[in-house]
Symmetry: C2
Subunit: 173 residues, 2 copies
Amino acid sequence: MTLDRRSGCPINLSLEVFGDRWSLIILRDMIFGGRRHFRELLNGSMEGIASNILADRLKRLMELGMLTKADDPSHKQKAIYSLTEMAITLVPILAHLGAWGRVWLPTTEELSIRAELLEKGGPPLWDKFMDELRHEHLGAPLDATTGPSVRATLQAAYETVVAGKALGANPAA
Amino acid sequence: MTLDRRSGCPINLSLEVFGDRWSLIILRDMIFGGRRHFRELLNGSMEGIASNILADRLKRLMELGMLTKADDPSHKQKAIYSLTEMAITLVPILAHLGAWGRVWLPTTEELSIRAELLEKGGPPLWDKFMDELRHEHLGAPLDATTGPSVRATLQAAYETVVAGKALGANPAA
DNA sequence: CAGACTGATTGCATTTTGAAATCAGTTGCA
DNA sequence: TGCAACTGATTTCAAAATGCAATCAGTCTG
């Protein structure tokens, strides 16, 4: 995980930032999972990231300007990681990645419902989501948005699918 | 470069397909550079890919269903690689990646002009480009598009910038 | 037939990854 | 006070991936 600068091509440079198997997973968990602490990212990671890899990637993402770190007042050793604007503007890319993966790869139903809603919502929904992230992570004022947060909506949909599948597997319930 | 299947999340699965430093570079060169042969990809690669890595990734991309390989009638040992629909639908993702990189990373002017035009053209231009790629790689009929191909347009813009920079550096020319 | 060209493969040193154990400081609770 | 649980990491070490250079066998050209 070095910073090569192999060429000045935008696609190449983007790949050098998150062209590995973990950086985008961490950002995904922060963006969609709302995780802000090392332990949350470590234990909550569906893919089972190792602690040394997580520490390395957090450090690297900070050096790249995608994350910042602040002390958590509640615990002297606790750190809160925040997304920068640079990371928040990845939302459309993540939405497209999810949409593409949903079409072409063997995704599971409950894990792809979020991608489906994000795709259906399109740029207006992505903008609303990015605005909420700016509020959470950068302290920006929230402009008059209505209803539940995008993350809560996506999470609720996920839980509905999970509940529905449990019901389907056990109709007597 | 194994096929982990760490989770059924669409973003994770997408990363397992091209979450490395070379796969998307190869696809970029095929899509935007029109390269179809091993040697073209090897020698034309701006980032200097090694031949063993290229062979490995071509094989992997075929296994994943992103590429197909056919004999070139002009030379019994020559192979022509073609994009599948799965790979062609990456165009919007590449466009977004390029747009993001252009904003946040130290791209060079001549290498980012393509990304800029692709961003400005938006989904209609991406659709036209994908249609052209389907024609080239899948033999699909080209619906009545007008004017020069998207790739030629992007290439011309690139060359204009290069020429302009040379002029700027040497006004007497 | 000589030499260039085709898509690779091989060997080997270096780098990256990943899993488990461990670390030192902090906190909550008995 | 004492002690277990928790904090963000770091250490260790084997395995895997990478990158470079040399090489390969078959094919075409002059």
